[in-house]
Amino acid sequence: MSARILEIEDIKVRYSGMPVLQGISLHVDAGETVSVLGANGAGKSTLLRAVMGAQPAFAGRILFEGREIQKLNTPDIVNLGIVYVPEEKMLFSPITVEENLLLGAYVLKDDERIRANLAFVYRLFPRLEERRRQPASTLSGGEQQMVAIGRGLMSNPRILMLDEPSLGLAPVLVDEVLDTVRKLKDEGMTILLVEQNVREALDLADRGYILQTGRIVGEGTGAELMASDEVKSAFLGL
């Protein structure tokens, strides 16, 4: 049994009075890729934002490597090694691709490591190296997603949380982005992936959870979930 990186215990989140998460528990172990699946509005993004301290949970605990973090603010959580790549990407659009990536390494002090991480990101996304001097806003949607993921990798995260990285991309780019996630997984990265692409996400994940209107309604290995009735009825239309 490998070390537990992230453990979420019965968290509840309200959004302007409305319950969004109604007691969610899940965990991610070192080196695992865990997918959270659910329809729009199920609370997937809220879950990740709660971990980041951007959408505070009013009940429950969030443990990172055994330490309670649900009261910390976002920058402190990032400093611990939790990195969130938001669905909206939140790039710094007028500044260059490389400046965006370097801001991802803000929590690091060691220049040599920052350079090594930049080289790693450019190996992963050669297209970003070609475009490194371009403002991020001039990139295509797929390339911007690469910047967002690359920027997330710049700080050597202990866990990478990806929020719908394939959202709004053309099918060929969806495959490319998910292949990248697979590469990161093969490199031993711990990943919490929120996705609407059920088949691909389950295929990729070691384990998965199904989120429905703020509750976990199913969990298991990728293969188990793929065969489960909940997934078949809820997502695959079978």
């Binding site: 920058p75 938001p86 710094f92 007028p94 500044i95 801001l103 803000y106």
Partner: protein, 304 residues
């Protein structure tokens, strides 16, 4: 011809000082979308710092620049931490009225501490000296030094913001505060830093201006309005825009000089009777009005 050339030179030199005056306003707006009505009061405190320290120690006001910068930096941080951070949680109107209240507070503290009379620098290395620049242009040494040092300070702050890790984090916060938090950048720290840098740059400007401009507790408002005009013209949040716009506004303050030039050239009697110098600063507001109607984004556009 000399009048025209002198007016242009004087306008550009004053514009360079004004660029430093407006810099802090545009930085603070850029980082947290807040308009600081107390900006001119920071400048006033810079003027008093330079004047009183130089008189007390018997040194030239220019030597007090580091102290003025420190006072402005601390004043900015104290105002942010003690006050602004709370009103940021309120509605927009609270922010506007809040910095307006800060202006009144700082002004009345100055009245209480320094009294209401005008004070001016009478002694110093540069006072009453001037440079002959050719073409019959004579520039007071205080204004020349003020302009030169303003440009140096402006470039220094610009480099700080674009080349350092801290400055890049500040830029990231200006562009997308939530995105910056996800990078581990604390918005609170960056806001405080913006107020510190903004405060320091405008108090340094005040310490330069006091060499050729008398100070009283009410001096701030004029400079607040000038800085507003500059920031509106240059584009809210834009640093290069503020510099270019400040030169334009500097030239606008010399409109009476240009008028004199026209009067002497055209020799039309009625032109002599127009009391143009009395309306010296009116033209800044006229320009401000025209900018707001014609190009509200300013010359360089908004930060977004």
């Amino acid at each position: 011809m000399e009048i025209l050339a002198s007016s242009i030179v004087a306008g550009l030199l004053f514009g360079m000082v004004l660029a430093l005056v407006a810099l802090g306003l545009t930085i603070i707006f850029g980082v947290m979308d807040i308009i600081n009505f107390a900006h001119g009061e920071f400048l006033m405190f810079g003027m008093y710092t330079a004047l009183l320290t130089s008189q007390a120690l018997g040194i030239d006001p220019l030597l007090t620049l580091p102290l003025a910068a420190l006072v402005g930096f601390l004043l900015g941080i104290v105002c942010y931490r003690g006050f602004i951070t709370y009103i940021l949680r309120g509605p927009m109107i609270a922010q506007l009225l809040g910095t307006f209240g800060l202006m009144l507070l700082l002004r009345n503290i100055a009245l209480l501490v320094f009294g209401s009379e005008d004070r001016a620098v009478h002694q110093g290395l540069l006072v009453d000296k001037s440079f002959e620049m050719g073409l019959g242009i004579i520039v007071p040494a205080t204004k020349l030094a003020g302009a030169g040092l303003s440009v140096v300070a402006f470039i220094g702050v610009w480099l700080l913001m674009t080349k350092t890790r801290m400055g890049k984090a500040l830029t990231a916060t200006a562009l997308n505060p939530q995105g910056a938090r996800y990078m581990g950048i604390s918005t609170e720290k960056m806001n405080a830093l913006a107020w510190g840098i903004g405060g320091a740059s405008v108090t340094v400007a005040g310490a330069l201006i006091v060499n050729f401009w008398p100070v009283n507790p009410y001096v701030g408002l004029l400079f607040t309005m000038i800085a507003f005009a500059i920031v509106a013209l240059g584009g809210f949040g834009s640093v290069p825009g503020a510099f270019a716009a400040a030169l334009v506004v500097g030239l606008i303050t010399e409109i009476p000089g240009f008028w004199d030039f026209l009067t002497y050239t055209l020799e039309m009697d009625w032109m002599y009777d127009v009391p143009m110098t009395s309306f010296k600063y009116m033209w800044i507001y006229v320009a401000y009005f025209i900018i707001m109607v014609v190009r509200p984004r300013g010359l360089f556009g908004w930060k977004h």
